[in-house]
Symmetry: C2
Subunit: 119 residues, 2 copies
């Protein structure tokens, strides 16, 4: 039977940054938590849209033509095919909702490339 997930409690269970933790599944979509700080790499996803929901900190999502600042209680959805680069000046906590097939760095092989772990 389903149980609830408390985001703050789950975020307290890990400290590693840029490391996705699985906390739920909605049909073919994963729900993942990630703590990020600093700058990621430019990338895009060929077929997967990605939702970034911020619960703490401040996320700047860079696009080729603009930046969008996303704060707690806000989300942004990156459509597939759109190049983007997340960055944060402070540690920022994010709930991601995206197809389970999504690779965090898209087509770019990088030290950031990471397979999510169950939390």
């Amino acid at each position: 039977m389903p149980d609830k997930v408390n985001l703050a409690e789950k975020f307290a269970l890990f400290t590693e940054q840029w490391s996705h933790r699985l906390v739920g599944r909605i049909n073919d979509m994963d729900v993942k938590l990630v703590k990020i700080e600093g700058e990621f790499i430019w990338h895009s996803h060929e077929t997967e849209d990605e939702m970034f929901f911020v619960t703490r900190g401040r996320l700047t999502m860079h696009f080729r033509d603009k930046d969008v600042v996303v704060e707690p209680g806000e989300f942004i959805i990156i459509p597939h095919g759109v190049e983007h680069k997340p960055s944060c000046g402070e540690e920022t906590h994010i709930m991601l909702v995206e197809p389970a097939t999504t690779v965090n760095t898209g087509a770019e092989e990088s030290d950031f490339t990471h397979t999510p772990e169950a939390l």
Copy 2:
């Protein structure tokens, strides 16, 4: 180009209860906001899982064998096929993530049956 969505700002745009408002799309999933108060009907969804993320108030999700109370900063995912009935003693604000094919009352025709509107 993608823009962000501020949940509190979007919730301020409507007052109607049990009326879903579309605020985003992640591939084949809708992101919807809904304000609920009182008791819904027992129902299930044949193929669609549903995520209820609470931003305000207090949601009680009834299952045939238990109740789960979901508070702000928490979510619950209802797997397809599982009977459930949401209820709230006070107005509660929820972000839903579920396949775009989801009918809010599942297979049950009801006065609650509702097609989401874009916000």
